[in-house]
């Protein structure tokens, strides 16, 4: 059953069905917050807050929007509320080790670990708006029309912003590594 059908059920009062949507979407949502806040405990709290708002404002869900787009619209608002409360704090990952892979030969693993750590540093150093659009497109695999609906802009604008964000990440990554791809 599609997310939108389930959400219609939730809207009609069958609120227990929200558990299914939580199981489908809480992990990617948690990762979205991790990329924006760099803090595990805060990210878990923000996920709770998003699903609580869905419960509270379920009557405002309109079936012409995909559930994912609506979910991340709420997620953005929740994150902005949080950022407003913590102005001046710099979002950095708690532990770059969390992002490494263990299924590779030791030398490749080392190189990969280094590259991954650099990528993570480069991503964390990006301006929030660029990081957000890249996380939506590359990490959450959201479609351009969904991102456009979340950010309330045109699909063409999303296309340009994703390219610029990826380019920015590349510039920072290669600058940190001191090398360019041949």
């Amino acid at each position: 059953m599609g997310d939108e059908e389930i959400m219609k059920d939730v809207r009609a009062g069958n609120v227990g069905r929200l558990e299914l949507l939580f199981d489908r979407h809480s992990r990617p949502l948690f990762r979205y917050f991790m990329h924006l806040t760099g803090n595990r405990a805060v990210s878990e709290d923000l996920v709770q807050e998003v699903f609580f708002r869905i419960l509270k404002y379920r009557h405002t869900y309109q079936a012409d929007t995909t559930f994912r787009a609506w979910l991340y619209q709420i997620g953005r608002n929740v994150c902005m509320d949080h950022a407003g409360r913590r102005k001046g704090e710099v979002a950095l990952p708690e532990n770059a080790g969390e992002f490494s892979s263990a299924e590779m030969p030791p030398d490749r693993q080392y190189q990969n670990k280094e590259e991954t750590a650099l990528l993570h540093r480069a991503l964390a150093a990006m301006p929030r708006e660029k990081r957000e659009v890249l996380v939506m497109s590359r990490f959450l695999d959201l479609k351009y029309d969904e991102i456009a609906s979340i950010l309330k802009c045109e699909v063409g604008t999303v296309k340009v912003r994703v390219y610029r964000a990826l380019r920015d990440l590349g510039d920072r990554f290669f600058a940190l590594g001191g090398e360019r791809a041949s």
């Binding site: 199981d23 878990e44 991954t116 390219y163």
Partner: protein, 276 residues
């Protein structure tokens, strides 16, 4: 210009989302443009690099906390629905009993009045003997409710604090300690949803208290969340608190006020002024 348009397609191409015709155009362009080719190569390295970043997992406690909140919400929701469902047959049942002819209606009313007077005398006598024990028991239950509410409001987990706010609704007598704790929650709780629920609870339980109304007006200025500010404004309008007008006007004039909050504060000023 052509290069700009072509480069904008690179992320979609790397994601494998480009349609065949656009992809072909991009490849043709890359064959002839070394700058775009280099761009594609660099971004390809970054794109594939992202694949190797394994993502962090949330703790199992996150799901448990969500289920706790969902269950609490569901219980409250079902309870509300049950109450609503009982109301409907009751109305139709009593409406069915009521006689349609006016003469019978007068007679029925007189009989009810007489039964009420006699019944009142009888129960007044009976209550005089039982009252002290009942009152003591009721006071104990009320104290227990107060204790549970206050301790839940000081819990670490937002869902427990939410339960505390919900519990405060069950108190029959407004308690000053609970009132202060709810006001503290509105001003200082780290969780927006707990603050929002506390605003509703204060409105329902302590809204008529003038000191509480002043505290609610002061709370608008210290709130960072526009949602809580909106809830506070709505509550002050609902309470018809005209003393809130100066604070609401300041909010309208303040440049830093959120657009939606400014708009709502403006409407609130209009409504409060129109009811003068």
């Amino acid at each position: 210009m052509i290069c700009d348009r072509m480069r904008e397609q690179i992320p979609e191409c790397l994601a494998g989302r480009l349609d065949a015709a656009t992809r072909e155009k991009l490849i043709d362009h890359l064959d002839t443009c070394s700058a775009c080719r280099a761009d594609m190569a660099e971004l390809g390295v970054v794109w594939r690099g992202i694949d190797s970043m394994s993502e962090p997992e949330p703790s199992p406690a996150m799901r448990a906390r969500f289920l706790e909140t969902l269950n609490a919400y569901q219980e409250g929701y079902q309870e509300a629905q049950r109450r609503q469902a009982y109301n409907i047959p009751q109305r139709s049942f009593w409406a069915g009993l009521w006689p349609s002819r006016p003469a019978w209606q007068v007679a029925f009313s007189a009989a009810l009045l007489l039964a009420g007077v006699l019944g009142g005398r009888y129960f007044a006598d009976a209550r005089a003997t039982r009252n002290p024990e009942m009152a003591q028991l009721q006071a104990q239950v009320e104290n227990l409710r107060q204790l549970v509410t206050l301790s839940l409001l000081q819990e670490q987990s937002p869902s427990s604090r939410l339960r505390g706010v919900t519990y405060s609704y069950q108190m029959t007598q407004p308690d000053p300690q609970v009132e202060q704790e709810l006001l503290h929650t509105v001003n200082h709780d780290s969780n927006v949803n707990v603050r929002l629920s506390a605003v509703e609870a204060i409105g329902a339980k302590f809204g008529r208290n003038v000191q509480v109304q002043r505290a609610l007006v002061d709370a608008i200025a210290v709130q960072e969340s526009p949602l809580v500010q909106l809830a506070l404004i709505d509550l002050l309008v609902q309470l018809n608190d005209k003393d809130a007008l100066p604070a609401l006007r300041r909010l309208v004039q303040d440049k830093d006020t959120d657009d939606e909050v400014r708009q709502r504060a403006g409407l609130a000023v209009q409504r409060l002024e129109s009811t003068r």
